[in-house]
């Protein structure tokens, strides 16, 4: 059921996004950072204006200072020059201050948004049903946090401000162009449109090969991971030449795709820049023809003859417009990636959370003099189900005992593919039920139903006589302890990992639990004892030690019902004996469902359920089943290989 975790799962995701993503994204961002965004917009406008102003001022100085100055001498224009220089300095200061402000605020907005997205995603993730995790590769989920969030960071932090700035410049330039000459503008627009066609072509080629490149990267990395992890096998079998040969094939494919993808993205800028230059010449040429042909110039200011002055000014605009278009087009890829990332993040946020319509809760109680159950706020380790009956308004208290009944349970993960058929199990408080059977027989599914990782229709599973669907999920799960076969520890100290079972457990309670679980000895031998930091899922511990810790964790939780999935993995006999003892201790006095792989566990059970293809085919105690001489007998005498 567990999926291999692979951080590169997203490699061949396509840069596509759902319609409406842009709107939703903007809504999300304005919800939290409206004020900041307004300041950013104003300062960007100011700094763009300052930039445009710079070229206007140079033109003004040439016309009003230099030209008259050349005729009348320096002294006649000095005052104007100083005036313009002063104006320039003032405007530039505004520009500099603006450019100081907006990237700083964008840093706050970008990181604030990313934090928001991360926290929202994480909180959402905690609410999602197990089914989500069983049906989505973990690498894919991870990549929403890594690749998609990174793409988003670029989008918010760099692309959006730059695009906004470019758009402001483009709007300013286009307005000026139309103001100067309508004819020339028409020509420019035709050229720009054809420029955009080129961009589109290159962008789509680039996208195609990007996807191809990502695919061959994924293939090559897959191969590399497989072979490097199996390198010792390669050596033992003298398989090096074959490995090299297969590697060369993957490598060659990756080279081809990577070469093409990079070529496309490398040629975009030179093409855009030089098409801009060519456009410049075309406009100059047509401008010249118009001047010589005395063509009337039509502009929004009326019409007159086209003069050199107009054409010269116009050419400046052409240059800055083509540069702006070039800048925008080089960002297209990042916009697409960012939006695709946003789209996937929204998809995660839109997943349906785990439903919980339960209303029966777990409370502490005391008994009054008559022996009736009375709810209390004191944590006294006496628990009862608080069951409010809506029709009568009566609140019923039922003592938590650990009585579990499953009746006629059928279940299918996917509709039409039933994996459990007519399961009946009666586990009275303190009994030990062993589930035995091959992989896929349905043992884990039963435990999945008990703690409502998956739900079944009403009334078929009862806990202390209460339909478990009526019990609030957190309360139900608090009453069930669990030791899974795949052990998950968390980064943190050893004692924190034990305390995970019950957050308010004291240090001495944790140590007590570790002692019961037989984990105390090895813990004290760790470099920092209980304060040793575990990382990477406890990779600095052996398999057996990790099992012992997970037993201690369940021990500290101290629940009346335990679900145990015995590990099959090979550990040395000494540790195995320790694990066995720890498990036995954990089972004492509790109702236990154990997916059993060990004879000793099975033999001591109150009831053994032999499962096959989703059915219980035999049930009884060890002795009864041995007498029956059925499947269990065969399994037992033919030794035990169930997994």
């Amino acid at each position: 059921m567990a999926h291999p975790v692979n951080g590169r799962g997203s490699m061949n995701r396509k840069p596509t996004f759902k319609p409406g993503t842009v709107k939703r994204f903007l809504k999300y961002i304005t919800k939290y950072f409206k004020k900041e965004l307004i300041i950013v917009m104003i300062t960007i406008i100011l700094s763009s204006v300052a930039t445009v102003f710079s070229s206007v001022m140079i033109q003004k100085i040439i016309d009003e200072v230099i030209n008259p100055g050349l005729a009348n001498g320096m002294s006649s224009v000095y005052v104007i020059l100083i005036k313009y220089i002063t104006i320039m300095i003032v405007v530039f200061l505004i520009g500099i201050i603006s450019t100081f402000i907006h990237p700083r605020i964008m840093a706050i907005v970008t990181q604030g948004m990313l934090c928001r997205f991360r926290v929202d995603m994480f909180e959402k993730m905690q609410k999602l049903p197990i089914k989500y995790y069983d049906t989505h590769p973990h690498g894919e989920i991870m990549s929403t946090y890594t690749n998609d969030t990174d793409a988003l960071r670029q989008l918010i932090g760099q692309v959006i401000p730059q695009i906004f700035q470019s758009l402001i410049t483009a709007i300013a330039v286009v307005t000026m162009m139309i103001g100067y000459s309508l004819w020339l503008s028409l020509i420019v627009f035709v050229i720009i449109i054809s420029m955009l066609q080129i961009v589109k072509k290159i962008a789509s080629g680039s996208a195609t090969y990007m996807v191809k490149q990502q695919k061959s990267i994924a293939a090559e990395e897959g191969f590399v991971e497989e072979f490097i992890n199996g390198q010792k096998v390669v050596k033992v079998f003298n398989y090096e030449p074959n490995a090299k040969k297969s590697f060369d094939e993957f490598n060659e494919q990756l080279f081809k795709d990577s070469e093409k993808a990079n070529t496309y993205s490398n040629i975009l800028m030179p093409i855009m820049g030089n098409v801009g230059n060519i456009m410049y010449v075309i406009v100059a040429f047509i401008g010249g023809i118009f001047i010589i042909g005395n063509v009337f110039n039509l502009s929004i200011l009326g019409y007159s003859t086209l003069t050199i002055g107009i054409v010269v000014a116009y050419l400046t605009f052409v240059r800055s417009l083509s540069q702006t278009v070039g800048r925008i087009s080089s960002q297209i890829g990042m916009i697409m990636m960012g939006l695709a990332g946003a789209s996937r993040i929204f998809e995660l946020l839109d997943e349906t959370p785990e439903e919980d319509s339960g209303y029966v809760t777990l409370v502490n109680f005391e008994r009054d003099l008559q022996g009736n159950i009375v709810e209390t706020n004191i944590r006294n380790n006496q628990w009862a189900w608080k069951h409010p009956h809506s029709e009568t308004g009566v609140i019923e208290y039922v003592e938590l005992k650990g009585d579990i009944v499953m009746e006629n349970v059928d279940f299918a993960y996917k509709e039409g593919e039933e994996v459990l058929h007519d399961i009946n199990i009666y586990a009275y408080a303190g009994q030990k039920i062993a589930l035995v059977g091959a992989t896929g027989a349905g043992k884990t599914t039963i435990t999945n139903l008990l703690n409502r990782f998956y739900d079944i229709p009403d009334g078929k599973i009862r806990y202390d006589g209460i339909n478990i669907r009526k019990i609030k999920k957190p309360d139900l799960r608090k009453s069930l302890g669990i030791v899974l076969q795949d052990i998950n520890l968390f980064t943190g100290t050893v004692i924190d990992n034990i305390r995970y079972g019950r957050l308010d457990a004291t240090d001495s309670e944790c140590i007590e639990a570790a002692k019961k679980a037989n984990a105390h000895d090895f813990i004290t031998r760790l470099p920092n004892g209980y304060e040793t930091i575990l990382n990477g899922n406890g990779s600095n511990l052996s398999q057996g030690q990790r099992q012992l810790l997970s037993i201690a964790r369940a021990e500290v939780a101290d629940t009346p019902v335990m679900i145990l999935d015995e590990a099959t993995s090979s550990i040395d006999t000494r540790t195995e004996a320790l694990v066995q003892k720890g498990m036995d201790e954990l089972m004492k006095g509790r109702t236990v469902f154990v997916i059993a792989h060990r004879l000793s566990t099975v033999r001591n059970s109150d009831a053994i359920m032999v499962m096959d293809h989703g059915r219980i085919i035999e049930r009884g105690t060890h002795d009864q089943l041995i007498k029956q001489k059925g499947t269990y007998y065969q399994l037992y005498t033919g030794a035990f290989e169930l997994e």
Binding site: S54, I58, I62, I66, G69, L70, M74, L81, M88, F92, F100, C115, V119, F122, M125, Q126, H138, I217, E221, E225, E226, N229, Q231, K232, V233, K235, V236, F237, Y239, N242, A243, F255, S258, N262, T263, N266, I267, P270, G273, N274, N277, G287, G288, I291, I292, V311, V312, L315, F453, K478, L480, I482, N488, L489, N537, R574, T575, R598, A639, E641
Partner: protein
């Protein structure tokens, strides 16, 4: 880390090989592109100067020149882009190949030293980083300083006095950018570690979601995560704010230059009556100033990228420079006479430190065809002992003899062909079952494959699969159970028909009955093959001819089951404990 950086780049440069042409052509074309790019504004200014409106001649003339220049620059730029892509992709290809081939030559010692996951990172992420840095170097890192130099030369020829403005401002800007980077670089390195931890905690929650939900720890996890996420946010914001100083610094420099050009330029024009400077040249100076300052900025960014990749370059060079400690002895003996094994005064240490011997004074003599059990607790070095036989490691002192000859005297591949080894942590590879079994002998017929499967007791489950021997094994063998996997691994070793076969605790998921059957069938079909079996369970080895008991790297007993049960206390203990808890096995 930083020491010897240049030599590490030299190690990587060797991987350019057949892409030298493209690697050299790229900067050459970039030079052409840059020169033209720098000249174009000059020609444009000239065209405008000559556009009097009387005749089309200057427009025809300069227009043609400009178009030719634009087309040449376009071609130069495109081909530079294309060659850069080929050169960098080719470089990366060769680099990956060199690393992968190198790893193939590694012995167990080097594989352990680096660890698989770190080797994978070096082959993937690190190569990608180096590829990007390589492309940056041959394209942008050449382009930006060139652009700066050419633009400066143009400015200088227009007016050397005006060019002095850049002499002052460019170093100041460069220094400012450098200061920002120096300040922010270590902060980023620190943050990335925090960021990794944040993602790591997501990963833990994803894979441990059943635990989180079972213990109802959703709120607890949310709280922790939010704290960590906010911490990352604060640090990142701080660092990015420092980086954001780049923008005003850049804008400040540009504006300062513009104001200076405007003031000094106009006074110069007027005072010299256009002799020292013309209006057209003034506009060009402004254009060149933008080019120069942008190049400085770009160069600083490229510098950062290259600095980031330095770590990757480092790690790759480390792999390429590590030589296998195991001499494959290509001229050695190619035939192994029989399966006899002798250990003579063998000691072994994983490190060079002799005080850390994990095996000490081992003397053993095993006859060809014998079945030997090896028993010992975890850490007693029983795996180490048997790994010396096919030279997975070399002894530190003493010698190991196979077929009467020192293992070092054999050609390595011939030795390993004769010694089959079933590893403890074994893996299957993606491919069909038949393909996996043929790892042991790629020329084996289907009949031979089936026979090997039968010997390993794998035939039963294979026959039940819809596609039998053509069934596909997923990557890592995830679609077969532990016991099935081990049986396939055994079949893969048996098909070699080796002189010696070693089982390194490789039957742990196989039930004792099947285990016994495998041993029995092997004894029958491979009577002359020496069989060495390491096991946790006494039951798996008690039928062996003799049993080696090993404790803390020393052999404490080497005898038959019957004798050991009488004489060896720890053997008795283990035997009793196992037969009692698992009493129904027999």
């Amino acid at each position: 880390m930083k020491k010897g950086m240049i030599s590490q780049y030299k190690v990587l440069v060797k991987s350019i090989r057949e892409y030298k042409k493209q690697t050299l052509l790229t900067p050459a074309l970039v030079i052409i592109e840059v020169v033209i790019e720098v000249l174009i504004p000059l020609i444009m200014a000239e065209m405008i100067n000559q556009m009097t409106g009387d005749t089309m001649k200057p427009i025809y003339y300069f227009g043609t020149v400009l178009i030719i220049m634009a087309v040449s620059s376009l071609l130069a730029g495109m081909f530079a882009g294309k060659y850069a892509a080929t050169a960098s992709a080719g470089f990366a290809k060769n680099l990956r190949k060199d690393i992968f081939y190198k790893i193939q030559d590694y012995s167990f010692h080097e594989i352990d030293k680096f660890s698989s996951s770190s080797l994978v990172t070096r082959l993937t992420t690190d190569v990608t980083n180096s590829q990007q840095a390589f492309q940056m170097i041959i394209r942008i890192a050449i382009r930006t300083p060139l652009m700066m130099v050419f633009a400066f030369i143009m400015a200088y020829t227009i007016s050397w006095k005006m060019a002095m403005i850049f002499v002052v401002i460019v170093p100041a800007l460069g220094l400012g950018l450098a200061l920002i980077l120096v300040k922010v670089f270590p902060i980023f390195q620190k943050i990335f570690k925090k960021y990794d931890r944040l993602n790591n905690s997501v990963q833990e929650n994803v894979s441990g979601i059943r635990v989180v939900k079972s213990f109802v720890r959703e709120d607890f996890e949310n709280e922790n995560f939010e704290k960590a996420a906010k911490d990352v946010r604060n640090d990142f914001t701080k660092a990015e704010k420092i980086i954001a100083l780049n923008n005003p610094l850049m804008v400040f420099s540009t504006y300062l230059v513009t104001v200076l050009i405007a003031y000094f330029g106009s006074t110069m024009i007027i005072n010299s009556q256009s002799l020292d400077l013309t209006t057209g040249e003034l506009s060009s100076l402004v254009t060149y100033s933008v080019m120069i300052l942008m190049s400085v900025m770009m160069f600083s960014m490229v510098f950062v990228m290259i600095a980031i990749s330095a770590e990757s370059v480092n790690r790759i060079a480390e792999v390429l420079e590590t030589e296998s400690t195991l001499d494959p002895n290509p001229n050695g003996d190619v035939t192994v006479r029989d399966g006899s094994i002798d250990f003579k005064d063998v000691s072994f240490s994983y490190s060079k430190d002799q005080s850390k011997y994990v095996l000490q004074d081992i003397n053993l003599s095993i006859k060809s065809g014998e079945t030997i059990g090896v028993l010992g607790v975890t850490g007693s070095a029983k795996s180490t002992l048997v790994q010396l036989i096919p030279r997975l490691y070399d002894t530190s002192c003493g010698e190991v003899l196979v077929g009467g000859k020192n293992v070092k005297d054999y050609e390595l591949h011939s030795l390993r062909d004769a010694v089959a080894f079933v590893l403890q942590k074994n893996v299957l590879f993606s491919g069909t079952i038949a393909e996996n079994i043929r790892w042991g002998n790629k020329d084996a017929s289907l009949e031979e494959v089936k026979e090997a499967a039968r010997l390993a007791c794998a035939d039963e489950f294979i026959d039940q699969l819809p596609k039998t021997y053509d069934s596909y094994i997923e990557r890592g063998g995830t679609n077969v159970s532990g016991g099935q996997k081990q049986r396939l691994c055994i079949a893969r070793a048996l098909i070699k028909k080796p002189k010696i076969i070693i089982f390194d605790d490789s039957t742990s998921a196989i039930d004792t009955k099947t285990n016994a059957k495998i041993t029995e069938q092997m004894a029958m079909t491979l009577p002359n093959t020496t069989k060495i079996i390491i096991a946790q369970r006494v039951a798996s080895i008690q039928s062996a001819d003799r049993i080696v008991i090993i404790e803390s790297g020393r052999i404490v007993a080497f005898d038959t089951h019957e004798n050991l049960i009488k004489t060896n206390e720890s053997y008795q203990e283990t035997y009793n404990s196992q037969t009692n808890t698992a009493g129904g096995d027999e």
